[in-house]
């Protein structure tokens, strides 16, 4: 389950709220994951460049499919919607690394 990044116990009410909010969102109905929908800042763009090829291709496929569905004002059948358990925050490690590198650069350039 990729919802909590840290290994802390999440209260049950919090989990329930998260599930409800996820299922109410639009993007799972198009078959997308949360990291597909991130706004492409410079950090995110650099992280996307570092994705392994298969992850990048899967991302592209999901986005193309979502655009097609959105054009036809359609959604996937209910059983194909992304479920919160299957949603993987695949971009987070790369974003963390890019941010860390930027911080290091900023520290060095301060002096």
């Amino acid at each position: 389950m990729a919802v909590a990044a840290k290994n802390v116990a999440v209260p049950v009410w919090r989990m329930t709220l998260a599930k409800w909010a996820y299922n109410k969102s639009y993007f799972p109905s198009l078959g997308m994951m949360r990291d597909d929908c991130l706004y492409e800042t410079d950090v995110v763009k650099e992280a996307i460049k570092r994705l392994p090829n298969n992850v990048y291709d899967a991302r592209q496929f999901r986005m193309s499919r979502a655009i097609y569905l959105s054009c036809n004002k359609d959604t996937l059948p209910k059983d194909e919607w992304t479920k919160i358990e299957e949603d993987e925050l695949y971009l987070q490690p790369y974003i963390a690394e890019v941010e860390r590198e930027r911080d290091i650069k900023r520290e060095w350039n301060k002096q």
Binding site: K49, R50, P52, R100, E101, I104, K105, W108
Partner: protein, 455 residues
């Protein structure tokens, strides 16, 4: 016994420089040639550490040498050591590429990666005060490689560039061709990546190669200008990426001929037979023989015929510009002995025949006493002059430590050279020169004879 001081060859190891050059314009003269105070020990993780302190210079040099040259490449990993050399400045597990470069520039140090066919040497030059940062950068670059996939892709461009630079240099290509035809695999593997491998090096491939080959008994760290306790302290946290033992496949000399026609005005050719490895007891006599035959002019811009027998012989065969020198390349278990010649395309046949007959006459008629004396002095002088430079000293110590386990001092080497007699030189000449020949030729080969026409 080692004759590593005098391996004169066309072979040039390719350096990959990470950061701004340190401003050590003056050469520090070291008493390192005497090797007094060389201390050798083993770290808990199994890596050999050697250090030689010197108080005369503020510069310290540390070299991490791994017995992981192209010799150990499998046939599906060609050129992987080229990729390793080029990725020395990329991100590793403890520092990003940016951090590594900035640390080194901040302390004014030099980190480079040099490769011979047997060894990969990561060398650091820095001031003695900055050794803590310097050594941590060196160790992280050499043992904690991360090989991030996106950075490896960037490296491939550099590999393409370096291979293209080598493509422009016939002498470098000649050396690669010569080794390939003489040894086929092991020592025949090229220092540079072949074109069919451009873009094919992946993070997993490199990681697997490092984990298999960078084992503790094949690595050593040598410090020059740094005390032993200090060096051992800096290396306390060093971890070795590889485990298990991997014995080197013995180099098997095969011989043969390869030619590459590229046109132009000149032709380059090299003809060798199997020489001796550095552990062979006659290796020193072979170095003396090399200087008897002639290693090129000793006076700059002269034509060298007074200094070199083969230049003299070739000079009588042609009046056009040429260059020729005796090659003696020594590896740990094998070597190449012969000569290379560069001449105008139309004169190549005469030049090659003249030089070959000179080699032949040594086996038939022997050598003169004064030639042997002169050669011995040249060998000793060459060794002494090379040991003036700290980086030569440390690389020499590194290679000896890995291949023999002990380091020979200059006095011992000089004693060995002095003990070579005329008969030794003649015996080794007969043994080596009558072996199976290999020939490599590149350039305008219109008049260059084939090997069977020459022998």
């Amino acid at each position: 016994m080692s004759a590593k001081f005098t391996s004169r060859s066309v072979l040039q190891a390719f350096k990959r420089h990470v950061s701004a050059r340190a401003n050590t314009a003056r050469q520090e003269s070291t008493d390192a040639a005497g090797l007094q105070g060389l201390q050798v020990s083993k770290l808990p993780n199994g890596v050999t550490v050697a250090s030689l302190d010197s108080t005369t210079s503020p510069v310290a040099r540390v070299v991490l040498v791994a017995n992981v040259g192209p010799r150990f490449e499998e046939s599906d990993q060609l050129g992987i050591t080229h990729c390793l050399r080029v990725s020395v400045d990329q991100a590793n597990k403890s520092k990003t590429a940016f951090e590594l470069t900035r640390h080194l520039t901040q302390i004014g140090a030099n980190l480079s990666c040099t490769a011979t066919r047997e060894n990969l040497m990561y060398s650091l030059d820095c001031l003695k005060d900055n050794l803590d940062i310097g050594v941590s950068c060196l160790v992280s670059a050499a043992t904690q490689q991360a090989f991030k996939p996106w950075e490896i892709q960037d490296c491939q461009q550099r590999i393409v560039f370096e291979a293209a630079v080598v493509e422009q240099q016939p002498e470098a290509r000649l050396t690669e061709m010569l080794h390939q035809v003489a040894y086929r695999d092991t020592l025949g593997r090229s220092l540079y990546a072949p074109s069919h491998m451009f873009g094919k090096y992946s993070s997993e491939m490199l990681m697997e190669y490092v984990n298999k080959n960078f084992t503790a008994e094949r690595m050593a760290v040598i410090g020059l200008g740094i005390g032993h306790k200090q060096l051992t302290r800096y290396l306390k946290t060093m971890s070795v990426p590889g485990s298990g033992s991997n014995t080197a496949k013995a180099a098997k000399y095969s011989g043969g001929e390869v030619r590459h026609e590229i046109g132009g005005d000149t032709a380059y050719a090299a003809i060798v037979t199997e020489g001796l490895g550095s552990q062979n007891k006659d290796a020193v006599a072979l170095s003396v023989l090399q200087c008897v035959m002639g290693c090129g002019p000793t006076i700059k811009w002269s034509n060298g015929s007074a200094a070199s027998k083969i230049i003299q012989a070739a000079g009588q065969a042609t009046d056009q510009p040429f260059a020729t020198s005796c090659i003696n390349t020594t590896y740990s278990d094998s070597g190449l002995f012969g000569f290379y010649a560069v001449a105008q395309a139309s004169q190549m046949g005469q030049v090659l025949k003249a030089v070959l007959s000179e080699f032949g006459s040594v086996t038939k008629n022997g050598v003169a006493d004064q030639d042997v004396q002169k050669a011995k002095m040249q060998v000793k002088a060459c060794a002494a002059m090379m040991s003036e430079n700290g980086s030569n000293v440390i690389q020499n110590i590194a290679q000896q430590l890995l291949s023999e386990g002990t380091v020979q001092s200059q006095e011992e080497f000089f004693r060995l050279v002095d003990s070579v007699s005329k008969q030794d030189v003649v015996n080794v000449a007969k043994k080596v020169i009558n072996g199976k020949p290999s020939m490599a030729a590149i350039g305008n080969l219109s008049t260059t004879p084939h090997l069977d026409e020459l022998m």
